[in-house]
């Protein structure tokens, strides 16, 4: 038989001590047994309701069963039908004391199984909703909204189509697509290898490394202020460069104010 948890043994001892003090009142000692049942899985064999007391507590049985591997005689007695038992002691269940205790035992303790040994709950139930309709409707509406926006925008704003490509006539200014204008802006400050390869290469490399470098397990914004500050500075850095490259660069890629010199920018 497996180990009986210490607190159960202790409680059984207390119950037995109470029982010896309480013998005259004849009962009320099954508390320990009932508590033991609540704490752990009780594997019990049903016995007829009612019946006479054998003068021993369930918890006591558990304790003695743990000590020896043989079922004590007084427990074996209980398995005999009530009618056949010798009427050693008569339990009188009163209205105030419900038929619980050594007088009213309806089961006997065979073994105590710790709850963790047969079932181990790892995932707790979480609040979930069906994808249909809850998520699909959101996705559908979002897709519809974007399609609608693109359709209407495309009706009113035409994609640029300048003159046929001409190798002999360099456009002034010559600008890369907008998402590369940050890099082109860097070209005005650094050597092309630094601006065009090293810095964006490092940027992508650092982005890839981010989850492996950032060892902070928290996701709450106030617990990762440094990471958020770093990313915000990084994003603002590129956004500013792209803005300058797009709107504040005129002929010869010189600095201009768009409200004075006009826009030199095509999508």
């Amino acid at each position: 038989m497996a180990d009986i948890p210490e607190h159960l043994l202790k409680r059984a001892q207390q119950a037995r001590a109470r029982l010896t003090g309480d013998e005259a009142t004849g009962g009320g000692d099954s508390v320990a047994g009932a508590d033991a049942g609540r704490e752990s899985e009780l594997v019990g064999a049903g016995a007829p309701v009612g019946g006479s007391s054998t003068g021993s507590s369930t918890a006591g049985a558990a304790a003695s069963a743990a000590a020896g591997d043989k079922i004590p005689a007084h427990l074996l007695d209980r398995t005999t039908p009530v009618a056949d038992r010798p009427q050693t002691e008569v339990a009188v269940p009163t209205a105030t004391a419900p038929p619980a205790g050594s007088a009213g035992n309806t089961q006997r303790l065979l073994t105590v199984v710790k709850s963790g040994s047969i079932q181990d709950v790892k995932t707790l139930p979480s609040d979930k909703v069906h994808v249909w309709p809850h998520l699909l409707i959101v996705e559908f509406v979002a897709a519809l909204a974007v399609t609608g926006f693109l359709l209407i925008f495309s009706i009113f704003v035409n994609a640029p189509l300048l003159e046929l490509a001409n190798f002999n006539e360099t456009t002034n200014p010559s600008k890369a697509p907008w998402y590369f204008l940050g890099l082109q802006e860097l070209l005005t400050m650094f050597h092309p290898m630094v601006a065009g390869v090293t810095i964006p290469g490092m940027g992508i490399f650092l982005l890839i490394l981010a989850p492996y470098v950032d060892r902070n397990p928290h996701t709450a914004p106030d617990k990762r202020k440094f990471a958020i500050a770093l990313m915000t500075i990084h994003l603002l850095f590129w956004a500013t460069l792209v803005m300058i490259g797009s709107f504040f660069r005129g002929p010869g890629f010189n600095f201009v104010f768009p409200w004075e010199a006009g826009l030199f920018f095509d999508f």
């Binding site: 189509l161 046929l164 360099t170 982005l207």
Partner: protein, 259 residues
């Protein structure tokens, strides 16, 4: 006048019988799997809600159930989903454009001009393709920012973040390769600036440039190269990475939890 209602009820009954016959037929039931809302007797039950996802080739990218906070628009802002949707939209409009475009320096610009002036909806579809492309760069970028600010790249989602960075790079490359195809002054000189920068790659910069341009200067060979990259190679690669990305979202336990 008095028999009009009777006639209409009769017609209604006939229509109803016909509908029943069609939706009860073997052909119909072979097309629409159990749980489809087009099946007869569809009821809104948890079982059928699950079937809608499980029995649909499109929807079963999704799990049957997601955490409640995952459907909150204010959390994801739909940015990842919209990036994917824009990719689909770009594929559809792109295929349309391919019917009218020849990737050759002699005909490319003329084809676009003809598309805009003479093809039904040609201008509209080209506009949509262009604006959707720019929007996709934006949504992918914002999606990355959103994921970062939620700390959603943290374990167990580190590798999916890496895939995401690859997807961002591929999106930029897709957009950039498409930039050259109209073969106008904007395209030519924007790509000149871009590829000049790539030429400064250390050690093998010249080789990178040569492979990308199909020569030492931009020309006809560049156009066909970038066309193939734009319509075939890069979409093929990005679809593979997207598949891994979406699969990992589910394997890593759905989208990240609330902060």
């Amino acid at each position: 006048m008095s028999n009009l209602p009777t006639r209409s009820t009769k017609a209604k009954k006939a229509a109803g019988d016909f509908t029943d016959k069609v939706t009860g037929s073997q052909a119909w039931n072979s097309i629409f799997r159990p749980g489809s809302i087009f099946r007869r007797g569809y009821t809104d039950s948890p079982r059928n809600r699950s079937y809608v996802i499980m029995n649909s080739v499109l929807y079963h990218l999704h799990p049957v159930k997601v955490k409640r906070h995952a459907v909150r628009v204010s959390y994801t802002l739909c940015l990842g989903g919209l990036s994917f949707f824009l990719f689909i939209l770009l594929t559809v409009t792109g295929i349309f454009l391919m019917f009218f475009y020849r990737p050759d320096a002699i005909s490319a610009w003329d084809d676009i001009a003809t598309l805009e002036s003479s093809v039904t909806f040609g201008l509209l579809v080209r506009n949509m393709h262009r604006w959707a492309a720019h929007l996709m760069v934006l949504t992918v970028f914002l999606h990355m920012a959103r994921v970062f600010y939620h700390g959603a790249y943290k374990p167990p989602r580190e590798f999916n973040w890496v895939i995401g960075v690859v997807l961002l790079t591929l999106t930029l490359l897709l957009s950039f390769t498409g930039y050259l195809l109209p073969w106008d002054q904007l395209a030519l000189w924007a790509v000149t600036v871009g590829t000049n920068m790539m030429g400064y790659t250390p050690v093998f910069g010249d080789q990178v440039r040569f492979v990308l341009l199909g020569g030492v200067e931009i020309g006809r060979e560049t156009l066909i190269r970038w066309y193939v990259l734009h319509v075939l190679l890069l979409p093929f690669v990005i679809v593979i990475f997207m598949a891994i990305h979406f699969w990992r979202v589910r394997k890593d336990g759905g989208i990240s939890g609330p902060m």
